[in-house]
Symmetry: C3
């Protein structure tokens, strides 16, 4: 990758090619629960390099408005939220969720200046616990993507937000890199530690899977495969969906419902929203962490989170971070309790992604067979950003919400089976599946 | 305002047009009390982007000398102050308040190198508790400005210093913006909360005053007016005086003596010196905060200050600052105790000024009728800086100390009166006034 | 000095002229004791502007390898050290001390990609408690310099490491500047405080010595001289040795064995390694601090050190530093306990060197007679860097380890003696000296 390509694919501020690409899509901005009720406290939100203030108005609608009051620039974070708008406390100018100035009480009655003043405000909609925002140019808004986990009935989806101190693409690349699981996460687990017949048994028995990668209408899909019991192949199937969504191959294909959003706050910070269907059956599945024979060897899935502050990067900061080397414990690393010595699974990923630096210099890397998915996703991103910039080509999925109806997961197929054909139905979201057998053939 | 104008009007380092303008004037550098006695500890002073060391010599004279020893650059902050000079502890070179090297003990006796070495040192004078410095080019020093509050007999003037973390112009603009008082400071107060006939009653009864702005020989003056009782008009009269002084309209015109200096430490930090005449009668005046019926609704005027440190920006830092959102209390904001939820009046101002960012991007603003004073002051500053840079025009007031003899304040005049004529005598500083009636007509 | 020369002589990153010069030499990278045993924890090392990971492999050999894994850039600091290599925990790639990729377990067995991947790794050797690294271009390594103190039998050399927050040249210049001792360190000591006949007596009796400076094959040597008892001269003899070594004149010439390395971590941080022969006889010598009549007047030689952290600049940070003004105690300064008020000798030096700023702007200085050694060393550095850049001239000492065989120290010679001839033998390292008389003639 050239330095120019690296810049192009990573930078997302206003006016950049990748920033313009992302602004074609709805983007998750914050949790609905961060604005718990009408007229509650505003929240500082950094999104795609823009400083914004989120608020919920008296009717319960969410507004996402420029930080600086259009008048003389005081922060609207200090604003009074009420009467269907946020009111700057400097001179009392009030704005509704559309950015209209609906009151300008320090001006003479006869003035109509307030009609000429408009704050930058982005349309927001809420679904499944997320506030989605549209920072793009269209007057007629595009549809929300048909992401299954985000459309589950209330209470069926868990969302885990975490702030990452690195560029969004490092986070995405970490997610679509299935190869690292057998090392970073499960490198200490030996085949004998895990019951024969489980996914994890095959994962740790062969840590160098092969890959099949295909371009799709929503982005890129891969199947990583290795031998299962004689005559069968173990497949891990996962997706990258434009512009920054990933679906992971953990869990049973057809049963597992997960989508992760890696939303750029700016070029150097990323807000991760892990969205997963709560599924008691999956928890009990013997091939998945953390329920295994030797539970000590499995990294903890939940990391402690620091209390939110009102700083721009003060939301959902992990207590396990670069300042404490992610809890690195060399004794655990040495004695094999953890391969990495980092006892929290998500922190293992962050340690890798953040230690690359704020924006990794990809001119220095050496990509291998296992990076075929990473390579393909970069190509698609670059191609889409260039096509939009040069030929105004609408990027994948913007006008086709249905392409997001995908599931990821693991499955065991007969050797030689066409994985794409064989899994077509199980990868389809929003269908009523018959009961899936928990013990795969 | 264009980006170029914004840069020109805000930046004050050596060689910048506005920095050159400010260097035509005497500028308040620190408090006399920061150097309490001869040969006391030196103080780090950042002024107009220059790192300086202030010290009081054995004769009680104040020196303001370059931070880096002219020899090899060690900081003179560590210097030994005594024997009528500050002595670098590296090699013992000693400098007097004029910057002369008066001892060079590590050189051979026959050397006269010390006559060739001169430290940058700025002339200082003390008056009214302030140390004034002249950082300009003239060998024959200009006169000090005739600022009344700074010439009161000892003990009659209170000086409140505070460090602001933003560009000086944001502070000045906040001060000359009388419109915000009715919102940021008194937005929670209703007319019925305040006795009829008081200034504050009219202020909160009509929060959209009209403005009359006039250019003067010292800068700009405004009168903001709104109806008082029938047949009368309530006037708030205040001044901007070159290059960064303001006088506020609180208090009774003719009685109220106040001047505020907003001294640039560098482009991103400002030292405010609020200088006000201690006046027991004024405190009792029923039209002024904080003595009112419902005292709970008045913001606290004094903010707690952190202990000084010896860092460059470690003097007079408010404990109520950006790191704690200026003590923002959403419950107080919501229940109307404070309009802003910030319980300290000066912190309310700083929250607005600092939240604009270090240097606000004025290309983004939307100025209204109430900003007419702000607009005029900018124009005068830009014009003066350009006239100096392009045609060597001496800026307003430099050679005319008497133009600073002004008072600001509030007054109630008959409807239709010419405010400038009617207040001419009351606005004149240094006169012996007859007793002013505390209850205005 | 011009700004260009100042940049040229101070900056040491890859590709800079001075950085290229330094890369011709072996440089001390860390202490052997920082890697106490085979397969111990890796250490982050910043060296000449490069982020590196030091580790000791299973055979006890030290590796110094690029921080970012050549694969996708995760930090090798988190790596598993064992089996004769460091293994990235992201995908298990393992590298030996030569940078060879010796295992790539996530690739298919048939892949030979690992032969194509090589990490940047610098050769290291250990001697006398130091790990030396060679960051230069030669395939055939140059010899280590014959620095005596680094070749003493185990246990006879003490190494004191300290991190300095300034450019390396400020540290070097502080060391070769013998003039400051009589002020910064001993300015409070009067001749009567010290026994007649001791070195220190003469030092404080005449604080403006003369200088004789000579270019040598290893760098520059000076002799600073002043009167001793009638008919004799007190000489302080010290060296600068390419590229950043100094030897100090404290102690008895012929007896005193010391070399200090001022190793650039980057342009703004320096790691000092003070290497000194432990010598019980020297401690008792009455002419040296700290054993004197009035012990209170001598600054403490050891400063407290903060616990190491795993940050890039987290090793050997003094607890007495800029954040606390180096323990400055104005009362001690004022009452003459310490000339500087800083009670620790090394902190006195750091206060001067660091307060010049990260990289001092040498266009502002005024060099005097006492700076003749500083001037000469700069010239030699500039000349050597330019000769290398322009004419590929191998810099002094690179191929001639024997030129480093020097001792520094103090001596009293008959008036008019040729100091160079008279001290030739005593300055020679590695010789068996007859017993040196502790009381000089």
């Amino acid at each position: 990758m050239t330095r120019e390509e690296n810049d192009l694919v990573t930078r997302v501020g206003p006016g950049t090619p990748m920033g313009t690409l992302m602004r074609q899509y709805w983007v998750p901005a914050l949790l609905s629960s961060e604005l718990p009720k009408p007229d509650c406290d505003p929240v500082r939100v950094m999104l795609l390099g823009e400083k914004l203030i989120a608020f919920r108005d008296s009717l319960g609608r969410v507004g996402l408005i420029q930080n600086h009051c259009p008048h003389r620039g005081a922060s609207l974070f200090f604003g009074r939220n009420g009467d269907c708008g946020i009111r700057c406390v400097y001179h009392g100018w009030q704005f509704d969720i559309h950015g209209n100035c609906i009151d300008m009480p320090n001006e003479p009655n006869e003035s109509d200046f307030k009609r000429k003043v408009k704050a930058l405000a982005y349309p927001c909609v809420e679904r499944g616990g997320l506030v989605w925002a549209y920072l793009g140019p269209r007057a007629e808004l595009p549809p929300l993507p048909d992401i299954e986990v985000n459309q589950l009935p209330e209470g069926e989806c868990a969302i885990v937000p975490t702030m990452l101190e690195c560029n969004w693409l490092q986070a995405v690349e970490g997610e679509i890199d299935t190869s690292h699981s057998g090392f970073l996460h499960f490198g200490s687990i030996q085949p004998d530690d895990v019951a024969e017949g489980t996914f994890l048994h095959y994962t740790v028995k062969d840590r160098a899977p092969r890959y099949s990668v295909v371009d799709t209408d929503y982005g890129v899909m891969y199947g990583a495969y290795r031998p299962a019991r004689p005559g069968y192949t173990y497949w891990r199937i996962a997706q990258f969906m434009f512009p920054f969504f990933t679906q992971t191959p953990e869990g049973i294909l057809g049963h597992h419902v997960i989508t992760n959003a890696w939303v750029p706050m700016d070029d150097y910070h990323t807000m991760a929203f892990i969205m997963i269907r709560k599924d008691p059956r999956e928890q009990a599945w013997p091939g998945r962490h953390p329920i295994q024979g030797n539970a000590d060897k499995y990294p903890t899935v939940q990391t402690p989170v620091l209390p939110n502050t009102s700083e721009w990067f003060g939301r959902f900061v992990s207590a396990v971070n670069a300042t404490n080397d992610y809890g690195l414990d060399r004794a655990r690393q040495r004695n094999g309790t953890d391969y990495s010595g980092i006892p929290y699974l998500p922190a293992q990923d962050r340690a890798m992604q953040e230690s690359m630096g704020s924006i990794y210099d990809r001119t220095q890397e050496h990509l291998a067979v296992s990076d075929v998915m990473v390579i393909r996703v970069r190509r698609r991103l670059l191609a889409a950003a260039r096509a939009l910039a040069e030929r105004q080509v609408v990027p994948p999925g913007v006008d086709c919400p249905a392409v997001y109806r995908n599931r990821s997961g693991s499955i065991i197929l007969p050797e030689g089976a066409d994985w794409i054909q064989a899994t077509k139905e199980l990868r389809q979201a929003f269908t009523d599946h018959p009961e899936v057998l928990l013990q795969q053939p």
